[in-house]
């Protein structure tokens, strides 16, 4: 199967075909436009290059060359011919898919605005609050994912160690929020947004499903961490602190946590040990890895959209009522 990244737009302008995302714009003319258009029209229904060649009546070589243009810019993910991949090649493909879906998440309206320094006070702190709930939930979903003993100790201990090392990192973010003037005493009692809860529940379900599904959810997150964990990570956070000086303490927390994760090696894919444990993988298992990576990205988008939808006023940051049953006494 081939996946055109959903945030990519495709449009015809006179005899030209333009395919673009926020960073790249590719224009095709004449025969090349016709062939490319045909490939893009059929791509959603074809699983292999040969199916695509048959549907478009183009040669397999032409189809491959068109796909290669898009793959170079991460606009298309090629998940065809996955059976028979070596573990090394499968890991490489998982890296590609993780980066592809991470890019889709980051191209959405709210994260784009956030990293461009255009988010509001309420949105920035709202992100911090919901991120705190996300990190606190490791004691649900990572605990569930780690709670298995069936398999080789040398493989599973990666999962056990990962959870043990993350168990109390929520405190770093709570401290960061407190530094922004929020009430660290009452914040933990607030319910997360339903959109954040959708992400947390999804992660829990994957933790329960299988070691492979559990390890797959980290791929998109780790692709983001790898993008952050560069020599200019400090300048990245300096940029955010200068855009949002009121949230400096929160970004200090993010930076501290990123550095800790990097030191602990949490930016590397944890799935490799589980791939080794489960080997040889069936086609269905391989498909499930890539589906889980995509679903994780989808749930992160819901989580981020929820923040932009809810945190519109300063009071939405400082007040979310703890639901209660008091009304029962008043009926």
């Amino acid at each position: 199967m081939f996946i055109v990244r959903p945030d990519v737009t495709i449009r015809s302008e006179a005899s030209r075909l333009v395919v673009e995302d926020a960073n790249v714009s590719l224009a095709f003319e004449g025969e090349s436009a016709t062939a490319t258009s045909s490939v893009l029209q059929h791509i959603a229904f074809c699983r292999t290059v040969s199916e695509l060649a048959e549907s478009t009546k183009l040669s397999a070589r032409t189809v491959k060359s068109i796909l290669a243009i898009f793959q170079e810019d991460n606009l298309i993910l090629d998940l065809s011919d996955m059976s028979g991949l070596t573990t090394h090649d499968l890991v490489k493909k998982i890296h590609q898919a993780s980066s592809f879906w991470n890019m889709h998440v980051m191209q959405q309206a709210f994260p784009s605005r956030f990293f461009a320094g255009e988010a509001t006070w309420a949105e920035v702190l709202g992100w911090g609050i919901e991120h705190y709930f996300f990190t606190r939930a490791v004691n649900e979903y990572m605990a569930r994912g780690a709670s298995r003993t069936q398999g080789a100790t040398r493989h599973l201990e990666e999962l056990w160690k990962h959870y043990a090392e993350e168990a109390f990192h929520d405190e770093i973010f709570l401290h960061g929020l407190e530094g922004c003037g929020l009430d660290a005493h009452s914040l933990p009692r607030r319910p997360p947004l339903a959109s954040t809860m959708a992400l947390l529940n999804f992660l829990f379900e994957k933790g329960a499903e299988s070691a492979l599904a559990y390890a797959s959810v980290f791929c998109v997150m780790q692709a983001g961490a790898q993008a952050h964990n560069t020599p200019d990570m400090e300048s990245r956070y300096d940029h955010l602190r200068s855009c949002y000086p009121f949230a400096s303490s929160l970004f200090d927390a993010f930076e501290k946590h990123d550095n800790m994760d990097a030191d602990l090696g949490h930016d590397a894919l944890t799935i490799e040990a589980i791939l080794e444990e489960e080997a040889p993988l069936s086609d269905k298992q391989i498909r499930q890895i890539f589906e889980t990576i995509e679903q994780t990205a989808n749930h992160f988008m819901l989580h981020l959209e929820g923040i932009a939808r809810h945190y519109k006023s300063s009071r939405s940051v400082t007040y979310r009522q703890f639901p209660n049953a008091i009304g029962a006494a008043l009926l």
Partner: protein, 336 residues
């Protein structure tokens, strides 16, 4: 030593505006509170929410005690606070509160644009298909939530109620599959593509409720059944959908109507009452968690309806050849 007195806010209480006048809202009312300083009162509400004791409120909001007492009496008079939270509630009390919430929430949930556009014929046909597709996934998901709830229930009486409910619901996806076929949508293709993330979110939230407490699950299930058990409303809705969208006489609404009739016959609208009714005491903490869970579930349903409408409006009509979804596509809506 006496414990500190704490005024407690009735749920739900939202702060809508505090610039010139204080405007609060519940699920059904918009309340303008005059005669109080708007910003300070909003902050006081915030501090009450945080559990600040009554005698510490004055310093927390930088007002003198006299002003604080005056504000508290206004809030009390409006029925927005109680002097002390009860230690326990009876099951009947919680059931009555839930029924009140269901009534208010159903009004809000089903007056949204998805449901009104389906009823008045302004939804485009691909959204009608999308609504059926996601309903199919959701109803099929009864197996993921009801069976799970039975498995997790720690109370044998309640487990048996869930088991009965499951036995009467587990195969109802067949009604929706038939409806899909009548609209030339292959249920196997729908299975292959899978549900929207927000449809999964609704099912997953029910499963979370079941893990937390069988009473949390019963409260969420009760909200779902309260929508389905209003048979008169359902009949009118299905009739309107058929009139607007069944131009080729496929009768695709008939299986949905049959499903609704069957549910009415089973009396699933009373399951929540059956669960809660006999319980003599529910601690305040437990009761609060039940309300928090069902309130989050209601918010999840709101997200689901909005996402369903958006996804199927933005994307081309469902194609039986589809292999996967194209979620959060950045494209303009295709033609109707």
């Amino acid at each position: 030593m006496q414990p500190a007195a704490r005024h407690a806010l009735r749920f739900p209480l939202n702060i809508e505006d505090e610039k010139e006048r204080l405007v609060l809202s519940t699920d059904t009312e918009r309340i303008v509170v005059d005669g109080v300083p708007p910003h300070a009162t909003a902050t006081l509400i915030e501090r009450l929410n945080a559990g600040v004791a009554t005698e510490q409120l004055a310093s927390a909001v930088y007002l003198d005690q006299q002003h604080v007492s005056a504000i508290l009496s206004v809030l009390h008079r409006e029925g927005l606070t109680v002097d002390e939270e009860p230690d326990t509630y009876t099951g009947r009390q919680i059931a009555a509160l839930l029924l009140r919430f269901y009534s208010d929430w159903n009004e809000a949930l089903f007056s949204g644009s998805l449901w009104s556009s389906l009823a008045n014929g302004t939804a485009v046909p691909r959204v009608v298909d999308g609504w059926l597709i996601e309903q199919y996934h959701f109803i099929r998901g009864a197996n993921a939530r009801l069976a799970y709830a039975a498995a997790h229930a720690g109370d044998e009486r309640i487990r048996r109620i869930f088991a009965h409910h499951y036995v009467e619901e587990f195969d109802h996806h067949a009604f929706f599959a038939e409806s899909l076929r009548r609209r030339h949508i292959d249920p196997e293709a729908v299975d292959r593509v899978g549900p929207l993330p927000t449809t999964s979110a609704v099912i997953n939230m029910c499963r979370r409720a079941a893990r937390l407490d069988c009473l949390c699950y019963a409260a969420c299930s009760g909200l779902l059944e309260s929508t389905g058990s209003d048979a008169t409303r359902a009949r009118a809705f299905y009739k309107a959908v058929a009139e607007h969208y069944d131009h080729d006489g496929s009768n695709f609404v008939d299986p949905l109507q049959k499903h609704s009739d069957l549910d009415e016959g089973f009396g699933h609208g009373s399951v929540m009452n059956d669960v809660f009714g006999p319980i003599k005491a529910i601690s305040a903490d437990r009761a609060n968690q039940i309300i928090e869970t069902v309130a989050l579930f209601k918010e999840t349903l709101q997200i689901w309806f909005a996402d369903l409408e958006r996804y199927y409006f933005v994307n081309p009509p469902f194609d039986n050849r589809s292999i996967r979804r194209h979620y959060r596509a950045r494209v303009t809506a295709p033609g109707n």
